[in-house]
């Protein structure tokens, strides 16, 4: 083969390699863990950074045990799933949310942060595409390896599993649901305390039809306080389960 043909082949190979790498877009947050996490969570599926995924969170964590986050993907159609993770946390995934047809693709929660890290909401739409929003949060740290605070207070002994909540009517037939479950949410990373956390929470309407489903992970803050926007009227039933198979029940009436 002539030298020019070799050069053409080499160029072609470079182009192929480049386009294979381009499937994971460059990270605007420049996280050291981005490529690894993107491969792990999104695999072959397409990923784009999308300003329509709004993630509200503090610039710096005032309380590393309870960092408030609100995800709003209502600007996207056909949202099937929202995955939230913090790149540099010892356990990155915080939660997975699957809003049904009667739930808005938005939610609020609190999580434990171990060090400064990007926090991301990945939103999967009906076409299989992932849309990402995110921001860095600064933190003094220690949120994941610090024992839960209520341990000594008797709160869990007397009130474990209690669910309290409230519904607020909003515009366009949407109700804001806020609820709190009394649970230690132990990560298993604090010395001598095994992991113990809520791993499933379902919201149902009064007829028992599923409105939305949330899968929880270790970094969710203790006594989870969650916010949802639901397009149903009337009572919302809450069914939750933790990693020790405790079944928790509650209901919130307007």
């Amino acid at each position: 083969m002539a030298a020019s043909a070799w050069r053409r082949l080499a160029l072609l190979l470079m182009l192929v390699t480049a386009s294979a790498q381009a499937e994971i877009p460059a990270d605007p947050l420049q996280s050291p863990a981005w490529r690894y996490l993107a491969q792990r969570y999104f695999g072959e599926a397409g990923v784009v950074f999308d300003p329509r995924v709004k993630l509200l969170l503090p610039v710096s964590a005032e309380n590393p045990l309870s960092v408030p986050v609100h995800v709003d993907a209502r600007a996207l159609a056909e949202v099937r799933e929202i995955l939230v993770f913090a790149d540099l946390n010892p356990i990155p995934v915080i939660l997975r949310y699957q809003p049904g047809a009667q739930a808005e693709p938005s939610l609020g929660f609190r999580f434990k942060v171990q060090q400064a890290t990007p926090v991301r909401a990945a939103v999967r739409t009906g076409d299989g595409q992932w849309h990402l929003g995110g921001a860095w949060i600064d933190a003094a740290g220690g949120g994941c390896t610090t024992p839960s605070l209520g341990t000594g207070s008797g709160l869990w002994k007397d009130h474990f599993g209690e669910i309290s909540g409230h519904l607020w009517p909003r515009e366009n037939g949407v109700q804001r649901l806020r609820l709190r479950v009394i649970h230690p949410m132990d990560t298993g990373l604090a010395g001598g305390i095994p992991a113990f956390y809520l791993d499933e929470l379902q919201l149902q309407n009064g007829k028992g039809e599923l409105l939305a489903k949330l899968q929880g992970f270790e970094p969710l803050a203790e006594n989870p306080l969650l916010s949802f926007d639901l397009r149903n009227a009337g009572v919302v039933r809450v069914l939750a389960r933790d990693t020790q198979a405790n079944q928790l029940r509650g209901s919130v009436a307007p």
Binding site: L56, L57, P58, E62, G108, A140, S164, R178
Partner: protein
Amino acid sequence: MRSLPVLLALLASLTALAAGHEYHLNGQKLADGVYVFVGAREHFSRANGGNIVNTGFIDTTEGAVVIDSGSSRLYGEQQRAWISGHSASRRIARVYITHAHPDHFLGSQAYAEVPQYALPATRASIAESGDRLSDNLYRLVGAAMSGTQSRTPNLPAGEGRVLIGGRALQLIAGSGHTEADLAVYDEASGTLFAGDLVFYQRTATTPNADIPRWLAALQRLEAIPYKTLVPGHGPVVQGPEAIAQTRDYLRWLQSTLQEAARKGVDLPELFEQPLPERFRDLALARVEFMRSAEHLYPALELDTLQGQGSH
């Protein structure tokens, strides 16, 4: 070895870095024997070395009465050196620490042999969390903190009038910015060192705040016939404007958070809340409002959920 001078120069600059930070403290005279060191209206940074705070001193025939020792050992040392060079007494009589926030007490090592006073709850708080606050400031400020260790004031201060070296000082024991907030009033000059009960042109901070108690403390300060007021952060004033601004902001903050909780707003949604025109030019308005929401909202939002559910 031609590179030796280069190496030595490098070593010298590294040593200078390790040695920390030059604060360029320059006391500003407010009245006879009364001085203030005015800090930057900023958040902690490597550039300001933690000097975001107003400290000061009142000179007496027994020595200077220092009000707050600043943010680091180096700050305290440089503050002490300036006072020794510029006071008539050339001595230090005592130190008052206004409250248990790190920018106000971490310079106390420079006054190791001097009696140091603080309100009982301030002493307890420094003893309990001084090391943690100091560690966090290292993270934010870096080299300027070198050699700094938390030191708990060794003597209790209390409400009332004290006579030191021919000067009458009134100690006002308030609370609300933290669990215990000391203000010091010099009768002769009419100077009120308000500590962090008063902020001016710099947004108030609330990591340990109780707003109703804070508002009550402001009412007490307002009754003092001061001629000059030194806020904990921000420029010195002669009139009522600093107290008025602090109260206006705290009231707005409280009612804004209460109203949001009543409407079921999620905490981070508050971060987008527009600020009223009159607060927009305060230093750090947006970031301090966000921090305050994190400090104060959790208690308010839980109230809206209580007793609503069942299990």
